[in-house]
Each structure stands twice: as C-alpha cells, then as structure tokens.
Amino acid sequence: MNQFTKKFLASAMFGTLLAFSAHAATLNIHNGGDPQSLDPQKLSGDWENRIAGDIFEGLVTEDAKDNPVPGQAESWTISPDGKVYTFKLRDGIKWSDGQPVTAGDFVFAFQRLVDPKNAADYAYLQFTIKNAEKINKGEITDLNQLGVKAIDDKTLEITLENPTPYFLNALMHYTAYPLPKHVVEAKGQDWVKIGNIVTNGPYKPVEWVPGSHVTTVKNDQWYDTKDLKIDGAKFFVLEDQEAALKRYRAGEFDIMTDFPTDQYEWMKKNLPGQAHVAPFLATYYYVLNAQKPPFNDKRVRQALSMAVNREVIGPQILGTQEPPAYSWVPPGTANYGEPAYVSWKDLPYKDKVEEAKKLLAEAGFGPDHPLKAQLRYNTNDNHKRVAVAIASMWKPLGVQVELYNAETKVHYDEMQRGQVEIGRAGWIADYNDPDNFLNLLTTGVAMNYGRWSNPDYDKLIKEGNAETDIGKRAEIFKKAEQLALDDSAAIPLYYYVSKNVVSPKIEGFVDNIQDIHRTRWLSMKE
C-alpha cells in the first residue's frame, strides 16, 4: 500500500472517529475553496485566513469585534518617533509539540517572509518594516539587516521605515505569524504536512482532504485552552453556493461564509435571523483607461460615473443592500473619520443624467456620435448582473457598451497590462487604514489598472505617509481623496457587504468590518 493510500485510509478512519465523538462541539464551517497551503506565508485569500488565524497566533490578535488585542505578546511600547516597537512576549507560550515560542521564532518567520527565494505572495504587506522591501527585491542580501530583532528570548524589537499608525493592525495579518523554527529547519518543505506541522494558536490542524475539508482540534499547549468552548472545527470546501446552502439547511454546516444573493429574500422569510449582512471594508469599482481616448477626457469619465444609478445596485440588482459608493475610501475605515465625497453626490438621479448628457455633448459625444466602449469583467454572476444593469443605464446617453467576460486570470492579466477600456475591479482591505485604498490610485502601482496619474496626488500621499499625527495624516489623505474624486479617477460603485449565514446554535458571532470571526470567541448551544 503506497504512502498516499495509507494516508487516505488513516484520514478516513480519523474522520470517522471524529464524527463519532458526539459530545465534542465541532463547528462545521463552509469555507469555499481549498487553502493553497497550511503555511501562513503562502496564502492570499480570506478563506485561507480563516484557517490560518485559528491555528496560528501573532504578536497581536483579533477579538470578536476585530480589534487588536494582545496575542503572543502581552504588552508593547512604541518609540516617540513611531518607528520602533518593542514587544514583550507572554509567559508560557508554546508550540503544539511543547517547545516554547521565542522571539527567535518571529525573527525567523519575518526573515523567511521577505527572503526572495521563498516567493511569498503577500510579503509586500510587511514592507513597512525597515529594509523589508530592499531584501525582497534583492538589493540587500543579508537577511539580518531586516528591522526585526530578538533582544532576548522574550523580547522582540521591530523597526519601521516610516511611522505607521496601522502597524498593529498589520501585525494581525497572517504574514506576521511566527513559525516553528525548529520544525521548519528540520523538515524543510514537508514541515506543513499533517503529522509534522506544529502551530501556536488555539487550534491545531489534524486532517486535510483536498477538495473536501480541513479539520482542526484544540491545541492543549495554548495558554488559554481551557477557555475554549468549541473543541474543533471542520472547514469544508464547496464552491457551489446553492449546494452549500442546502447542506446548511440540512444541518451539515453551522456557518456559511458567503451565500447566493438571490436567496437573501427567501432566507429572510424561511431562515429568519440567520443571514448576516454587514458593512465590509471593500469597494467595488470600474476603472476607465485614463491613457486611452476618449477616457482620458475628464468630462467623459465624470459623465459615465454620474449616470450610474448606484442606489438600485444593492437593493434591486444584487438584493443584499450594498451601500452606494460616492467616495473612494469606505466609511468606517479606521484612522480616518468621514471620507471625501464627489461633489454631485446628493443630486437627484434625473439631474445627474442630464448633467452627464451635457458633459458628454461637450466632449463631442451623443446619440448621433455614440461613445463605443468595451466593458470587461471576470466571469461571475454578480459581476454580470451589475454590468448588464450599468450598460442599460448608459444607453440613454447614447453610449454603446460591448460586454465581455473572461476568466479571472485572463481578466486581471489584461487589466494589469492597462489594456481594458472599462474594467471591473474590487479591492478588499488588507488592513484597516485609508492608505490601503488610496494606494490604488498612485502612479506606478500595478493595481492602478486605469493608469490614472496625478503628481499632486502622489505628493499628498507621500506627505501623509510621513506624518505621525493621526489627525493631520487623515486631513492630508482626505485632500488627496477629494482630488481623485473630482478628477473621476475611477468609478466607485458600491461598498461590499459581508455575507454570512450563522446557525442559531452559535453564540459569539459578531459582525465586524473585516469579517473576521475566530473560532476561539464562539460557542455552540446543543
């Protein structure tokens, strides 16, 4: 019997055992896709975050409301210039094999993250750390130049390039998790395999059947294990949301992390209180190619933006009440206050359309000289609906839209090359700070799909990043945001909402803006 058959049988048997331990409170979560890996440095998706955040823990971790609270670090101090953070690690923190977690494990992890050899997708998230970017680019080859140092086994010092108000938030991200140096060095690539893997979070992974599920159980070496009410979780892979909803209704899933929008009305009637729709830190938008005529004409961009009836998108087209977006940074973003808005936000829709027609006429377009454009989006039911609706909203202006959908990879490939005329995109915040959104419009950034470029904007962003006072920083950023909105740099359409379905058996599930719900805060009624 070969290795894999043995493993398959072993997991099948283990799974059966787990299934039969009836008194154990196991949470069945519908997670969507398979994780790329159990190695936190190889991830990039929110479904992967759910698993990683249960089995690992960083210096700082999320509470039920997604606020940063002490994790592996019990306290920290920040230098007056905001660039040096010193963390004191908690007593008694251990890996699931009993070995202590030391500051050295954090240094090892950060160095591995930025080491270009490892090609970590999300290394750039920690580029605020001194020399991180230079090492990742290969400009510095000595990993020890990285601004992460172990003063002793229980003290960790991190030095930043700039004062970064959102740094604690960034530390909650999986790129900042420690790694078990002793296991990674001993086992190399195989350290993540079930049987080898060792973690420091409230739970540890015990089984992974690709295409089916990942199983975790309580980590008895974690410092607060006795407080955990849930004994383990199963993260199920199932991309068909309708099928997932059926399994939820049959009781096979306790939590669904997304649901088909068409079912919202039905769920409100038949599964009252179980569908959770909450504001989510993400913006859905269309980019216009600012380098290609006629979209390089600001009037054309503004006209197209004004003619979109944003108020119907959430309630009618999608059905889940997504709020209309008239600003670039979503309201509710930390360190910011109220965002900037487009000047024409409160005009009645009829007037917006009239104004749009006027602008287009000025730019030389109208029913006799129609504006022809290709609208691209990646294959997805919701994107299709929105695109169809918006195309029909632009029709009365004499705009003729050709709809084109492509698979996600092809779509983004074209977008990144700046080839699209009008393209759909979405941005989910990596961390809770306006900088994450404003960055999308800076010159030279790959994510700036529309290639909109404004030197004044770039200057303001740079200025904001160097400012230590949070209030002043927000002011500067708002100026930049207003500039971009006035120039119609892109067309924000709506803010995402997080969609979950939570069984009434579950307690402790708090809707929050980054939609993070760690299993340690949940409990189940029988």
Partner: protein
C-alpha cells in the same frame, strides 16, 4: 450466382409493383414517410417542434419587451397578466418570455449546426474506415483514439482561449467533438454489415467500393445513426449549457435554454418561474426530437414488425 445489373433492376421493379407500392426509384423514402405518418407520437412531435420553432423565430415580434433591456419597475416579479410579463422577470428585470424564446432560437441553432457537422463527418468517416478496413481503418481509428484521449472540455477551453470567444467557434467546437462517437458507432455497424450476403453480392457483381458504401451500407446505418443523432441533440444542448455554466458558452446578453436553466436552477425555490418555463421548453423540444428520431428509425426499418 451472378446477376446482370439490368436484370436486377427489373426484378426489383416487379417486386415493388407486386406489392402495389409506388413504382418510382426512390420509393424507399416515400415508403418510410408514409410509415412515419402512421406513428402518432412522431406526428404529434413534429407538430410540437414546428410550433416551438415558429414561436422562437417569430414570437419576439409580438412581444413588447426584448431580451436584454431591464424593466426597472419590475425586478424579479412572478408571472402576471397585468404587467405584461407573462413569464415573469429575471433578477436583472428582463422579461422571461422574450428570453426563453430567444434562448430557444440560440439552442436550436447550436444543436442543428453541431448535429449536421457531426453526422456528415462521422458517417462518412466511419463508413469508409469500416468498409475499407485493414491499414486505412487502423490509421483512421487511431486518429479517433487520439482525439478521444483529450479531455474534451480542455480541448474546447484551449480553443476558446486562443481564438477568443465566438459563438460560431462554439458551434464548430461542439460539432467537432460529437463526430467521433458517430464515427465509432458507424464503423462498428459497418463491420457487422459488410460481411452480409447482399454486400457480398454487390461486391461480386462488380460495384465500386464507394458506390457500395453510399448505396448499400449507409442506408442500412440509418437506424443507429438516426437514434444516435436524436440522442446527440440533448447532449449538444447539455454541452452548450455546461460550457455557459463555466463562462465559455453563449455570452451576455445572448442567452440559450441551457443558460436560462442554469440560472433558474439556482433560484428553484425563490423564483420557480425562472426554472419552470425554460425547462418546459427544453423538455418539449427534446422529447419531440426524440420521438421524431424514434419514428424515423421505425419508419426506415425495412422489415415491418
């Protein structure tokens, strides 16, 4: 026994006249059509099919709505007489009746084109390969094996991806896949038939191979070919809807029955009309095609049951 061709024709003529049937040369077809006329299910199916085709191609002229413009006042409404949306509207506010008719048109076009392509290529290929036999047969079937060995969906995706999305390419790709099975079946049947006595007789009397293939083998293949062709149509429509389901088939705002059903399946409980109407059209379409196929097979069967 060697029969003089002229004498053979004469004998055939006499036999036919004796049975009191039409004395013309193409009596086989007329005969078959008459038999078809006696098959009630087939006749009913022809009527239904004709109705569907007429509705699909002429219907849209009579409806005030078209298939792509949303009716902003009526999103997701169930069928009603007052609003004029007899089949209701979809989540984008588009009239379902218009979309179903339009979708039927597209599905029919896809199915017809692909079937014709696959039948023509498949029958010729399979009959020639089976009849000639030997080396040629081995090579031809080897080619079919190679084509088969590629997972078809991958093949289609690769085509779509390199040459861009195009409805005509879609038809061609689907047709290019279906002929393989037809060729296989035809070859199998040919292998069985070619050793039968009347073929031996024809060969002995000096008929050229191609003529034998066309005049004797192919007509005897009609049964399984017709059945398989009639069974291929649902498969083609299913393939097309499967591809649309993945994002490769008919593109927005065009739609097909398969796409409509895929959308309707998701809304089975919340908006059942989205599923019921396109599904009913599809079922009617396919059932009628199947019964017609059966009827044709029975009609062409030279020996009466």
């Amino acid at each position: 026994m060697i029969l003089n061709p002229a004498k053979r024709e004469l004998l055939a003529q006499e036999l036919l006249e004796a049975e009191g049937l039409a004395p013309e040369g193409r009596s086989l077809t007329k005969d078959a059509l008459r038999r078809l006329g006696r098959n009630k299910a087939a006749v009913l199916s022809i009527a239904v099919l004709t109705l569907l085709i007429l509705a699909a191609f002429l219907g849209p002229w009579f409806i005030p709505f078209n298939y792509e413009d949303p009716d902003w006042a009526a999103f997701r409404i169930p069928p009603s007489i007052e609003t004029g949306h007899y089949f209701g509207t979809d989540p984008n506010g588009r009239d379902l009746l218009a979309r179903v008719l339009y979708g039927t048109r597209v599905s029919l076009a896809v199915a017809l084109t692909a079937t014709v392509v696959s039948v023509v290529i498949g029958v010729l290929y399979g009959a020639v390969s089976g009849y000639i036999g030997g080396r040629l047969d081995a090579i031809m079937m080897r080619f079919v094996d190679i084509m088969y060995a590629l997972p078809y969906i991958l093949f289609v995706i690769l085509l779509m991806v390199i040459f861009g999305r195009n409805v005509y390419l879609l038809f061609a790709a689907i047709g290019a896949l279906e002929w393989l099975t037809m060729a296989r079946i035809v070859r199998g049947q040919t292998l069985s038939i070619k050793h039968r006595e009347f073929i031996e007789a024809a060969r002995a009397s000096g008929q050229r191979p191609f003529k034998i293939i066309v005049k004797h083998i192919i007509p005897n293949l009609v049964g399984p070919v017709v059945i398989f062709a009639a069974l291929t149509v649902p498969e083609i429509i299913a393939t097309e809807s499967f591809l649309s389901y993945l994002g490769f088939g008919v593109q927005e705002p065009l739609t097909s029955l398969g796409t409509l059903i895929a959308e309707g399946t998701d809304a089975m409980e919340s908006m059942p009309w989205l599923l019921i109407f396109p599904a009913s059209f599809l079922v009617a379409l396919l059932l009628s095609l199947l019964f017609i196929g059966d009827g044709l097979r029975d009609a062409f069967d030279p020996k009466d049951r």
